[in-house]
Symmetry: C2
Subunit: 262 residues, 2 copies
DNA sequence: CGTCGCCTTGATGAACATCAAGGAAAGTGG
DNA sequence: CCACTTTCCTTGATGTTCATCAAGGCGACG
């Protein structure tokens, strides 16, 4: 994966207790949602020296937990590469997937009143994250205030998003849910610089189904339908979107109609 | 309604352009969620002189809009008496009810990036609200910072709540949705000092159905079932909860079983 | 007393969950 | 590299839940 060329500067990364030197180019700050307020980006320009503000840049492997439900909130995380899954475990042990975080997105809006994580976050593939210590953050008042402001705006837009989502989850047909999910993923992945028509969804069908409150079988059947309708090309976890217009239309709540592209 | 006894101090209230003197006891600050940070409560004790910080205490009547989707955000509102309904109008003109605000609750977490309201809020019965001017707020830096902090915590807990809600809306049976709603309303009304077993839900069946993403008929049928099962006594908009245990159990996702109370 | 809006009740159908089983890919150990 | 297991995904058959259509009741209000 790390194909040679370790010429440039490197950041010290903690991976499962071991120290690793990771070339800075693996930290894609130019996709980071916190770019505008990151001390780093502002003080150092686009090529940051992460070790200055990130207390513990960390490398997580597939299946590693970033944190668990009930853990005290110690770090504020931003995904720098990879994908994570956020889920809540009910008292009965049932999992509910509440979201996926992609490159540049934060995963820490889940902490509740008691300063403890309200959900589990797990890496779905190799992921490195910026982990900013909350203690350290509290010491730097200026940054703290700015961050709170930024997070608040983020939270508000999240709530607005949830209102749409709630409507979708409650009234939306399975078709529309899945279309929304694909559309959402495509546009978010596009923000990270990937081509939006050819996307890789690392999460399992089961996770997608869980997230959308559908049965696994329904998701499977729908993918087949989408494929039959020539909306998607599907190969395992690789998706190529053929008919964006149809997908977008369905994501907005319309049922599939053959000549949506017209 | 305002049964005589205008002995005590009064606040100047603006109702549809007209000025009204409203006895302070109609402002139930002791139920207000912002009590801890409200300048008023802290400086004046429990009996506040609202005119000091509330730019426009306002009286709304049934059907009046507090604000409309797209309006610039001018005030930060706290419900002081009455109930409001928050809903989003889709481009096609469909209404989606996203929540109800009761006494002591704020209604302003809906504003989006552009500083404009993202939803409509309408009074369901006679309501008076504390309307704190956003401009004024921005001038008072200290309060602003505290308020932002408070609102952020509020927003985070709202997001956590939405995660549960999403699960309920997506996977939950109609039974569970309605039980959750009743349970939620009862406990929130209890916070305002009302007896929790005898509650009045001023919103229409249609609004409840819309909020829960159900058909009106389904809500109607379920109320009948709940009544048949001796969980509720229903008279028009008056509800008396007979079997709290059963209701709570159903609110958590269980189906109704006859001897839940055992 | 009549009209209107809101709520209730009944009949029907469609969408999706569930149950069940088969298949393909990925990991495992020799 | 090849059998083996396991996990994940697909496909089919069946049933339940709830939306929808339709009509009737009941209170509110003029």
């Amino acid at each position: 994966m790390y194909s040679g060329q370790s010429t440039g500067a490197a950041a010290t990364v903690y991976a499962n207790g071991r120290v690793v030197q990771l070339p800075l180019r693996y930290f894609t700050c130019h996709h980071c949602k916190l770019q505008e307020i990151c001390v780093n980006a502002r003080e150092r320009g686009s090529q940051p020296n992460l070790t200055d503000i990130i207390d513990h840049p960390r490398l997580f492997r597939r299946g590693d937990y970033l944190f668990r439900q009930g853990d005290p909130v110690r770090y504020f995380y931003i995904i720098n590469s990879g994908v994570t899954k956020q889920f809540i475990t009910s008292p009965e042990g049932a999992e509910k997937v509440v979201g996926f975080s992609l490159v540049g997105e934060s995963v820490s809006l889940d902490y509740c009143e008691g300063g403890r994580h309200n959900s589990n976050v797990i890496a779905l593939d190799t992921a490195n994250v910026c982990a900013i210590s909350v203690n350290r953050l509290n010491r730097e008042k200026g940054i703290k205030a700015e961050l709170t402001d930024c997070l608040f705006r983020h939270a508000v837009s999240e709530i607005n998003r949830h209102h749409e989502l709630q409507q979708l989850m409650g009234h939306g047909a399975a078709e529309n849910k899945l279309a929304f999910f694909l559309n959402d993923m495509a546009s978010r992945l596009q923000n990270t610089g990937q081509a939006s028509d050819a996307i890789v969804l690392v999460m399992s069908r089961h996770d997608i189904a869980n997230y959308l409150c559908l049965a696994d079988e329904t998701v499977s059947r729908l993918f087949r339908k989408f494929s039959d309708w020539r909306i998607l090309d599907i190969d395992r976890k690789q998706f190529r979107i053929i008919d964006f217009a149809a997908l977008r239309s369905m994501a907005c709540g319309n049922r599939y109609t053959f000549s949506d592209t017209a």
